[in-house]
Symmetry: C2
Subunit: 298 residues, 2 copies
């Protein structure tokens, strides 16, 4: 219809690409990982060129240009920062390693403030090497969050616990469902600890719509991408462009919107095929798919 | 210590292989899929040679020799049949396909009776091609089980709903947690519908020990194997020998035993590296790992 093709699928674009100023783009945020082929300055320029108003930052590419410089670039871009990814990795068996993680998370909170966002995404961490004590690792994650929460509150940053798909329970994230994330978050004031709702991680969860309703004001970030099959050999890179997989974005987005969530919607895609494309094409496909599959249900 | 090595890891055996008559083998069942390199007659012979008293059968290798012939071979072997795998695949969007699935499941119940087992394992099925309606697929699975349950009861066969790891929610099993499986099972008499507790599928589930306690007499099969990382490229083959991965078999087995479960314990491993070994070595490793990691907690 438009003569344009989507990436990485190569399918014909189903709608025109929304342009700068299109109200459908008002809440769309480019998570930096979606265009990992871009440096921070390139991502800022690319997001602005596509008419976006928001970006989700990662600590590593921020560190690549230096925190203060990054903050200047972000401020100059005029973009909002929807979140900073990521703190966490709390589950070490060794007390010294946990202390180091705490210190690093304090720094991440400060970085969020410097960059101008009030959301720090937390990836809990996996089982320590050789350990099979999943309840123990989960307890350590909850304890670390409890220790971190007051400082986040002092700095005006909300911690977002990100439940991760159970495929990652061993090696990345021991918080495996929204229900479990809320059990942890609800021990703390909502202005300190919330949850990240990511369609990729949660689409399979029985009763997830009830859990989203339960989350209410605790949703600090809404991240979208698709669950695609077959799952790639590198499972970490199994995220797909919205519409290329199995997720019902309408149902998910309606449930999130029903909580009153008024924040940005981040598109976060880890996918080698996406990263092999030109960043401009990725952002354009993302904007079309978002405008078609997500935004109408907000 | 014994000069023997485990398969497929190649690690030295940590204990002597239990021999025929060892009481530790009394409840160990060889699920046929663990030695997929063996035909049914080979599996029956291999299990007996290793001193096992039980086997878990699959419909396809049974069909390869013919049902009546298979039943004769099983009876002659003196082995118990701990379960028949598998019925299910209930989620088709097309009513005709669902009717065919129902008919096939009636046949599977009859096959279970003929083979001398009272347990039919049900794999619910995934999303139909192109569908993103996960709640709909789940509802169809529950409806199909409700339709099947009375006939199972008439024939003295218990249906075992197998919750599957969420990695399979799109393409194989839309029942993703023990909690969800029990929500379905509890709509029916316990002598008709129960659940399969499989460590590989459930090890990540928050609160799984409480769900196992809730299951109580509804546990119709306890299957063990390990969750290994990295997950292989073919995710279906990512099951490991007990002890090679991240599962805490002591905690899981204690929880199952606490329900009063007195049935067999099936070792069910889908793994190309395991299938590349001699069946005798697989069964011997299985018996050692089971005697070390599982049986003491029954």
């Amino acid at each position: 219809m438009t003569g344009v093709t989507d990436v990485p699928s190569g399918a014909p674009a189903r709608i025109e690409t929304p342009r700068a100023g299109d109200p459908r783009l008002a809440r769309l945020s480019l998570n930096q990982r979606t265009t990992a082929q871009w440096s921070l300055p390139e991502a800022l320029d690319g997001a602005r060129a596509a008419g976006l108003e928001s970006i989700g930052l990662w600590r590593e590419p921020v560190a690549d240009v230096g925190l203060e410089k990054a903050a200047q670039l972000v401020a100059a871009s005029g973009l909002r920062v929807s979140s900073l990814c990521r703190g966490g990795f709390f589950t070490a068996a060794d007390a010294g390693a946990r202390e180091a993680a705490h210190t690093d998370n304090l720094a991440a909170i400060d970085e969020a403030v410097t960059l101008g966002t009030d959301v720090l995404v937390l990836v809990p961490g996996g089982l320590p090497g050789g350990s099979r004590d999943l309840p123990g690792a989960r307890a350590r994650a909850a304890e670390a969050i409890a220790r971190l929460a007051p400082y986040a509150g002092e700095r005006g940053v909300r911690l977002g616990i990100e439940p991760m798909h159970p495929i990652f329970a061993a090696d990345r994230g021991v918080v495996s469902s929204l229900r479990q994330a809320l059990d942890i978050a609800e021990e703390h004031p909502a202005e300190q600890v919330g949850v990240v709702v990511d369609t990729y991680h949660l689409w399979w969860e029985p009763g997830v719509e009830e859990q989203i309703a339960r989350a209410g004001e605790r949703i600090v970030a809404y991240q979208v991408c698709d669950w695609i099959t077959p799952v790639p050999a590198d499972n970490l890179l199994g995220r797909g462009m919205m519409g290329d997989g199995h997720v019902d974005f309408a149902a998910f987005t309606r449930a999130v919107a029903a909580t009153g969530y008024a924040g940005d919607v981040e598109v976060e895609i880890f996918n080698a095929d996406v990263w092999a494309q030109a960043g401009e094409d990725v952002v354009a496909t993302m904007a079309r798919r978002y405008a078609e599959l997500v935004e109408p249900y907000l």
